[in-house]
Amino acid sequence: MNMNLTLLGQAISFAIFVWFCMRYVWPPIIAALEAREAEIADGLASAEKGRHELANAEKHVADILSEGKNKAQDFVLQGQKRRDEILEKAKAEAMEEKAKILASATTEAEQERNQMLEVLRKQVGGLALQGAEQILMREVDEQSHRDVLDKLSSSL
């Protein structure tokens, strides 16, 4: 185990190998390792983000569903209300119409009755005149008694 130039040779080769390792081996491997580490971290982060977004979306869906349910209920209630309103309105209109028809029928009946009365009055006048003619058994001067007859018929 004598010391000799191998010592220097070994030191020089050592320095060269370290230089080679430092220049060509270490940086690419570490770069790859670090890049992969970053990629994994990114992946985990985006997975976490995705999970978060999914939870948000689920919450959003639930919100929309309950909102829809509420709206549907509102619609039903509104419909019922509207139906009631329409029914109420129709009823009121029908009542009004009924009253109108009744009124006009009453008026018409009144008019007809008046016309009938007029006709009857006239016929009664005529009959009374004929009756009076026959009682008197003579021709009455229609012209001269017109006034009397008219007075009579209008008093009927």
């Binding site: 185990m1 004598n2 000799n4 080769s13 320095a15 080679f20 081996v25 491997i29 570490i30």
Partner: protein, 273 residues
């Protein structure tokens, strides 16, 4: 080596293939431990250099293969495997190193994988490569570079240099010297502090390299001993459990070297108050 005594076999297996100037002035490979020692500092362990460079290049090529085509979305199996190691190293650095320094993490990765690969050579059966290289005309062949103190000291002294460099860079020369002089007992005990802190500073690279060397050398020696002393048809009874245990040891030693490097460099970055 068939035909030689166990002692010869063992000493042959713990001898590096050393190239240098022999006593007679010519250049060549040492044929014995004494000859290698006589060559002095101006010689080189060719086997250690070859196998450490080979494992280092294997590390670079394999890891570059993963990093060159590094994909975020569609990683290959090999890339995932590399990422596993890188993440382990990165986690250790993040835990133990609080400063900011782009060098520490790649340095730790290189230390861990390279030392692991060099240690892994320990699991190659002890005779395969030495025997093959003997056929090729090379007298000795130690294929585990971390069983050579030169290899472990080469690394630990590099780290020692980094420790001193960053210590002075982060704390200033005064701060660095102050740490040596004024701890742990305060200014009144300056000489004591200086001795204690200097010893503990120097102990760091020493323990770093000797721990690795000791563990790997001992592990290799056990394999050699088994091969030298046990009949070949019984060797597996000892060698297999030891090899399985050694899988743990080589990984652990690589991890400890890396971890202590991170801690020591972390200390160099820490500014005391």
């Amino acid at each position: 080596m068939a035909g030689s005594s166990p002692a010869e076999y063992i000493s042959h297996h713990i001898q590096n293939l050393t190239y240098g100037r022999t006593l007679d002035g010519s250049w060549g490979f040492a044929h014995s431990a004494q000859e290698a020692a006589q060559m002095g500092f101006v010689s080189i362990n060719v086997d250690t250099m070859f196998w450490s460079l080979l494992t280092g290049i294997i590390f670079c090529v394999l890891f570059r293969k993963a990093s060159a085509s590094a994909s975020v979305a569609d990683p290959s199996k090999w890339q995932l495997c590399v990422e596993l190691v890188v993440e382990m190293v990165w986690g250790s650095v993040k835990d133990a190193f609080t400063g900011k320094n782009a060098l520490i993490a790649p340095l730790s990765l290189t230390i861990f994988v390279w030392i692991f690969l060099m240690n892994l050579m320990d699991l190659v059966p002890v005779d395969f490569v030495p025997y093959a290289s003997q056929l090729a005309g090379l007298s000795h062949m130690k294929i585990v570079p971390t069983t050579d103190v030169n290899a472990t000291f080469g690394m630990s002294l590099s780290i020692f240099a980094l420790m001193i460099y960053y210590g002075i860079k982060m704390k200033g020369l005064g701060g660095f010297a102050g740490e040596l002089a004024f701890h742990p007992f305060g200014k009144a005990f300056l000489p004591v502090n200086l001795v204690l802190e200097t010893v503990s500073l120097i102990a760091k690279p020493l323990s770093l390299s000797l721990r690795l060397f000791g563990n790997m050398f001992a592990g290799e020696l056990v394999f050699v001993l088994i091969a030298a002393l046990v009949p070949f048809y019984l060797q597996f009874v000892l060698a297999v459990p030891w090899a399985i245990f050694h899988i743990l040891v080589i990984t652990l030693q690589a991890y400890i070297f890396m971890m202590l490097t991170i801690v020591y460099l972390g200390q160099a970055h820490e500014v005391h108050h």
